[in-house]
């Protein structure tokens, strides 16, 4: 097959995967919408949609990987992929910024105002007399009942260490790949995957404790809302990242990636570092302060 050189442009041929992805997306999200409206068959639609999306990802990524391994992509295509991943991560940063914004707004403004600070004096006097606005709070109506919070320097701190170490191990894997040290690459990647899944496991245990022993739930007022939305979306991203790392590890075992050409590896590594940085924000502003 013809190698594409730098002075010639590369345009991929058409593919069915995008339209398959759209069908999966509408089936899954339509199923979700019926589900929250209590239609009995909706969970099945949701599951079918999710399966179609997974099928699409296997098919689409598989096609791209085969084309890449066949040497079809030139340096310009590589740069396009890199830019695509970087801007995708930027969009994810903004998604988390939205929930951090909600947390800061609640802590800086809405809770103190309900407690009578600033322009909220009459709100407190007339509606929520006696509400003592101290964080953490389930709000003046104590929605969800009394709860206790998860101490920062227990499991969350261990999880911080786990994620930070996994950032180191993925970097060691990268260095091994650049030196064409295949064994090191695979081993460090597997270590990263293991750390990622241990994090997810501990997070699940923490949720169980919160629900069963601490009385802390999604319905525990603004504290429960911000706590579970931030850690929940982060946990979903860690899970996704760990799955991506697993795929990269399997590909490494099959001999994919070259020391000078391994965008797939780097994209996953960037994503993993992003998830790591979000966690540091979470650890500071959700658990410690």
């Amino acid at each position: 097959m013809a190698q594409h050189t730098a002075d010639q442009y590369y345009v991929p041929h058409g593919t069915k995967w995008p339209i398959v992805g759209s069908l999966g997306m509408i089936t899954m999200l339509g199923g979700a919408a019926f589900w929250v409206n209590d239609y009995s068959l909706a969970p099945w639609a949701f599951a079918v949609g999710a399966l179609i999306l997974i099928y699409m990802m296997f098919g689409w990524f598989g096609q791209v990987i085969r084309e890449s391994e066949a040497g079809l992509y030139n340096a310009q295509v590589d740069t396009s992929f890199r830019m695509g991943m970087m801007w995708f991560i930027f969009s994810e940063v903004m998604f988390f910024a939205c929930f951090f914004g909600a947390l800061f707004y609640a802590r800086m403004f809405s809770v103190p105002w309900l407690g009578g600070e600033g322009t909220g004096a009459s709100t407190n006097e007339l509606l929520w007399q006696g509400y003592d606005a101290v964080w953490p709070t389930a709000g003046p109506a104590q929605l969800g009942g009394p709860f206790r919070t998860i101490p920062a320097f227990g499991v969350p701190f261990i999880n911080t260490l786990i994620l930070l170490s996994s950032g180191v191990t993925v970097t060691l894997a990268h260095h091994a790949l650049k030196k064409d040290h295949r064994k090191g690459l695979v081993l460090w990647l597997l270590a990263t995957v293991a750390l990622g899944f241990v994090f997810v496991f501990l997070q699940v245990e923490e949720y169980k404790e919160a629900y069963q022993q601490l009385g802390l739930t999604l319905g525990s007022g603004i504290y429960g809302s911000t706590f579970f939305m931030l850690t929940g979306f982060h946990g979903m991203h860690v899970t996704l990242g760990a799955i991506m790392l697993t795929v990269i590890a399997i590909r490494s075992m099959r001999g994919h990636f070259k020391p000078e050409h391994h965008f797939g590896f780097e994209a996953v590594a960037w994503y993993w570092h992003f998830v790591d940085v979000v966690w540091l924000g979470l650890f500071l502003f959700v658990y410690v302060y």
Binding site: V11, I19, F58, G84, F88, C98, G101, L143, M229, R254
Partner: protein, 547 residues
């Protein structure tokens, strides 16, 4: 993620890429469903946007018909609210934004000397999410609860009281957001990575510049909207308290988050319009754009300011006074870069040898009428005055002036400007001009009286009104019906140009046109540039500047 790698290549990946660079794929599905071609995807976007323009327009006709006279005559108040909500959602996310993405797809690769977009398959997906998203959104009108009726801004607690439709709207918005983010990533990667050698950033056409900045805005704020509607969803169905004061949250927090998205969003709809107008006016004034570099910096300044002015949409919710003052002054700052633009367009025309073909008419209409909308925006920026104007028809008049004779006129201008390039045929100049004059006159009959209605105190989003507002409402409705009907002329002109016109267009099309798209034939080859074109003063408009 091919774990089945060793099982070999399927036939798709064996297709010889070099072979079909200059051939269109055969078969309807191959061509339109599986396409990776920027022109085909651009056409899909534009046709979809036009369909949505008429869908949203039909809803506007229902609104204007109900408001033709005082009293309730045609529709139930709840259905009226569904119409105002859906009209806005469809026009913003279904008509104006996809239309601009369609222009971006068609023009950016040609303008920068590229063969296609940087990520052509993702480009296909960006488009093909939209028909599904809007099918989901429109399907809510058929549900027992009816469609969403709390306004496109989806403010809680009202939006949380919607019925079945609510979750469908949230997920439809998610899908539109995913589509926009992928489309924008593609635009940025294309502009930063696919420019022909020699096409430095400050030689790029202004349309490319405005889209680069628009795409940045989209990637920055669409995820914020996604987060906001996700919080609505969990507040409604999963017991969270983000927007519930009893749980320590605040409904006003939603407004802050929404408008952090919403204000950049309105610039997302207008910045590409600035770009198109900055292409058209130099062509028909036969002079280079006045102050090209200043235009680039002004666009960037507007984009920056758009992130720090959001609460001017919320002056009446009870913000601290310092907040109101800050947002007032920050908002007024936007007048400076916007003024730079308006003066530059006027200066470009100054002493030019102007002709007034249809694209130029729409572009001049844009400059004049958009400026009216900009000035009423300044009036709204004054906090003390806004307390009076807020949620009245004055606001409706303001944003329709910037969106209809603003964004939509620029879309029309661009469509007439590039139709001969796209199709290889000239459109009917006579009918184009008729379309312009009827549109330009009727749009003012439609929206200008709404300023007076708002100043006199008529609230927006209400199906009935006091008899004192009757005359201006009737005038506005008549203008609305004429404007709506006159858009059918546009469709006629397009269909004629595509299917019937016998007058072949030259490559350059317009005598004064400069830029890489004009050195290609009309219609251009399926893959615009297979090898990078030469960039010099004979091919691009701004080759000599900024050096």
């Amino acid at each position: 993620m091919s774990i089945e790698h060793t099982h070999g290549h399927d036939h798709e990946s064996h297709a010889a890429h070099d072979d079909h660079h200059d051939h269109k794929p055969t078969g309807f599905l191959n061509r339109w469903l599986f396409t990776t071609n920027h022109k085909d995807i651009g056409t899909l976007y534009l046709v979809f946007a036009l369909l949505m323009f008429f869908t949203g327009g039909a809803m506007a006709m229902v609104i204007r018909a109900e408001l033709f006279m005082p009293g309730l005559q045609l529709v139930e108040p709840d259905f009226f609210n569904q119409m105002t909500t859906m009209h806005a959602l469809i026009m913003v996310f279904g008509a104006v934004m996809p239309a601009w993405v369609g222009f971006a797809n068609w023009m950016i690769p040609m303008m920068i000397g590229a063969p296609d977009m940087a990520l052509p398959r993702m480009n296909n997906w960006s488009f093909w999410i939209l028909p599904f998203a809007f099918a989901m959104l429109l399907s809510t009108l058929l549900m027992d609860s009816g469609g969403p009726a709390a306004g496109w801004t989806l403010y809680p607690p009202l939006s949380l009281q919607g019925g079945q439709s609510f979750a469908f709207v949230v997920f439809a918005v998610h899908m539109m957001g995913i589509s926009s983010i992928m489309g924008s990533i593609n635009v940025i990667a294309t502009i930063l990575n696919m420019r022909a050698p020699g096409m430095s950033l400050l030689k790029m056409p202004l349309f490319v510049w405005t889209w680069l900045i628009t795409a940045f805005l989209l990637i920055a704020v669409m995820p914020v909207l996604a987060g906001a509607v996700t919080m609505l969803l969990t507040d409604h169905f999963f017991g969270t308290s983000f927007f519930n004061a009893a749980g320590g949250g605040d409904p006003v927090m939603f407004q802050h988050i929404f408008w952090f998205f919403g204000h950049p969003e309105v610039y997302i709809m207008i910045l590409p319009a600035f770009g198109v107008v900055s292409e058209i006016i130099p062509t028909f004034a036969r002079k280079p754009l006045f102050g090209y570099t200043a235009m680039v910096y002004a666009t960037a300044s507007i984009a920056f300011l758009s992130f720090i002015v959001w609460a001017h949409h919320m002056f009446t919710v009870g913000m601290p006074l310092t907040g109101e003052l800050y947002f007032m002054y920050a908002t007024m700052l936007i007048a400076v870069p916007t003024g730079v633009k308006v003066f530059n367009w006027v200066s470009t025309m100054w002493q030019g040898s102007m002709t007034f073909e249809t694209p130029m008419l729409f572009a001049i209409g844009f400059v004049v009428l958009f400026t009216i909308g900009g000035l009423s925006g300044l009036m709204l920026a004054i906090t003390a005055a806004d307390l009076q104007y807020h949620d009245t028809y004055f606001v409706v008049a303001h944003f329709h002036y910037v969106l209809v004779p603003g964004s939509v006129f620029a879309l029309m201008a661009g469509a007439y400007y590039w139709l001969p390039k796209w199709t290889g045929h000239m459109y009917s100049e006579k009918w184009g001009k008729i379309h312009f004059w009827i549109s330009a006159i009727s749009v003012n009959i439609l929206f200008f009286p709404q300023h007076y209605l708002g100043l006199a105190g008529m609230p927006r989003r209400i199906p009935d009104y006091s008899t004192q507002f009757a005359d201006f409402n009737m005038i506005s409705s008549i203008g609305g019906f004429i404007f709506g009907a006159s858009q059918l002329i546009f469709v006629g002109v397009i269909l004629h140009c595509v299917y019937k016109s016998r007058e072949a267009a030259s490559g350059r099309v317009w005598e004064g046109a400069r830029g890489l798209e004009w050195i290609l034939s009309s219609p251009p080859p399926y893959h615009s540039f297979n090898t990078p074109p030469v960039i010099d003063a004979t091919t691009v408009a701004h080759a000599g500047e900024a050096h």
